[in-house]
């Protein structure tokens, strides 16, 4: 109940703040908002060159394959890394007004969601130019992103809470996300991992699961695995509830610690 009323009351702040931060990030640069488009394109070019050109990997439509993985990954990674220190970043505001702390996590997520949405818009335009048509299965994109966002929200709430008390968590998160990156099949096919791991893998590696499913629905015209999606929805709900509960119980002592 309190979450719903706080969400309604402060959602405009989250959106306005995210928009201001996005403008700030490109303020003073020559290319401005073009960087939001160039950024994922350049990363895709680098990974395509290294994996396909240098290591000779053979995956059909590799640039699209990498782009889907990178877009989904960056949303998770950037949100997780920013959330750890988000309460400290907003210290000056929080000392002057009461703002529910989950709103800060939403600000971080809105910024990264916008970038991901832009990446996928570019991807779809690029696919059309390459003659790759989206099929009906592409509609699975929406429930996949919704559950993925809910899961990221929950994880970011918990890391933001711990990050208030343990500043070192930001360093740990950078390393942990880097490790997860290499395990998530962003620039290789998960079939290359030992197959005996697969039954467990998709239950423990959310990014691996979501990257695979997004590729399946957008690139290979296959519907998503709804059973596994339901599993991750349950995990997302539990993690989010835990995160919200932690924040609401402790948020009034955050300002004494940061």
């Amino acid at each position: 109940m309190r979450f719903a009323s706080d969400f309604k009351k402060y959602i405009n702040y989250a959106l306005y703040s995210a928009a201001a931060e996005l403008k700030n990030q490109v303020h003073g640069t020559y290319l401005g908002w073009v960087w939001w488009i160039l950024d994922p394109l350049l990363y895709m070019a680098v990974y395509s060159f290294v994996v396909e050109g240098v290591f000779g990997a053979k995956i059909e439509n590799f640039s699209v394959f990498v782009f889907i993985g990178l877009s989904a990954w960056n949303y998770f990674s950037a949100s997780a890394n920013s959330s750890v220190s988000v309460v400290r970043s907003y210290r000056s505001v929080l000392q002057k007004a009461y703002i529910p702390k989950f709103i800060l996590v939403l600000i971080v997520m809105f910024i990264n969601f916008f970038k991901m949405a832009l990446s996928f818009a570019i991807l779809i335009a690029a696919m059309a130019a390459m003659g790759l048509k989206l099929q009906l299965a592409a509609l699975c994109f929406f429930p996949l992103i919704a559950v993925y966002s809910a899961l990221i929200f929950g994880l970011c709430l918990i890391s933001a809470h711990i990050g208030v008390y343990i500043a070192d968590l930001s360093n740990v998160t950078v390393v942990a996300t880097r490790v997860l990156f290499y395990f998530s099949g962003i620039f290789y096919d998960l079939k290359e991992l030992p197959q005996k791991l697969m039954p467990v893998y998709f239950y423990v590696c959310p990014t691996g699961f979501f990257v695979r499913e997004l590729r399946a629905c957008l690139l290979y015209a296959q519907p998503c695995d709804f059973k596994m999606l339901a599993y991750w929805l349950t995990v997302a709900a539990l993690v989010s509830l835990t995160g919200l509960s932690l924040m609401y119980r402790n948020e009034n002592s955050y300002m004494k610690a940061v």
């Binding site: 009351k9 402060y10 405009n12 702040y13 306005y16 703040s17 201001a20 403008k23 700030n24 303020h27 400290r88 907003y90 000056s92 505001v93 929080l94 000392q95 002057k96 007004a97 009461y98 703002i99 990050g163 208030v164 008390y165 343990i166 500043a167 070192d168 009034n252 002592s253 300002m255 004494k256 610690a257 940061v258």
Partner: protein, 244 residues
């Protein structure tokens, strides 16, 4: 008879750690976690339509008390009872973004205070007029002087506030004319809306004019609480004796 709108009962606030700690310290013995008591056993009541002055030297706990009432800190002991009123902490520059215009910062600060778009739209002309920044409102606030910045943030706070006002050193902004206008505005809001105000300031004359009661904090403890003129006189005498 006017009712109590804010009641503090034996409020104690401690800071356990001023900064976040490293793992090594977090798992070490708790020696570094000696709490610092910022407020200790403070009690008072604020009645409808009343303005309460908060005085004391720097570090005496004035800001901590206001933040505790505003819900930014939770008391470690005691309780703060808000009787069916909301409170608004009036302080300078809530989350201003330097590169955004004054107008955009009105929205940003307003949303941070929990105001709706409708409420902001209803007040925006008053905010701009009161801050006397009509010609500069669409310029980035990074180009503002400190006085212009303070005038805008004060105006946002007072026009978008709801319920009782908690004013933290925000009355000494701008030139003399603006200060007078600010005081009149505070008096008007307190009386017209039948709420109340708690005003922390080092400007004793201002508090004498605005407040009916005063509360003197010393090292986090309540030193004196009562009629404004009497408490302010005692405080002046104390400050005078310290300087001699």
């Amino acid at each position: 008879m006017a009712g109590i709108i804010i009641q503090a009962k034996q409020v104690t606030v401690r800071y356990k750690e001023r900064e976040a700690v490293s793992y090594r310290k977090a798992f070490a013995k708790q020696e570094h976690k000696k709490p610092y008591t910022a407020l200790e056993g403070v009690s008072f009541s604020l009645y409808e339509g009343e303005a309460l002055g908060l005085i004391g030297e720097n570090g005496s706990g004035k800001t901590t008390l206001l933040r505790a009432i505003a819900g930014i800190y939770s008391p470690d002991e005691g309780e703060i009872i808000l009787n069916a009123v909301r409170v608004s902490l009036v302080s300078l520059g809530i989350g201003f973004q330097a590169r955004m215009s004054g107008r955009q910062n009105i929205y940003l600060s307003g949303y941070a205070m929990g105001a709706s778009k409708k409420e902001i739209l209803a007040s925006i002309d008053d905010i701009i007029g009161f801050s006397e920044l009509e010609r500069f409102i669409d310029k980035p606030v990074e180009s503002y002087s400190s006085g212009m910045y303070a005038r805008l943030s004060f105006s946002i706070s007072v026009f978008l506030c709801k319920g009782a006002l908690l004013i933290d050193e925000a009355l000494s902004v701008g030139d003399t004319g603006f200060q007078k206008k600010s005081m009149d505005k505070i008096t008007q809001i307190t009386k017209e809306k039948a709420t109340g105000a708690i005003i922390a300031s080092h400007s004793l004359d201002t508090l004498n004019n605005l407040c009916t009661k005063a509360l003197w904090l010393q090292s986090g403890k309540l030193r004196q609480y009562g009629e404004a003129a009497s408490v302010i006189e005692s405080y002046k005498a104390y400050i005078g004796s310290k300087r001699r």
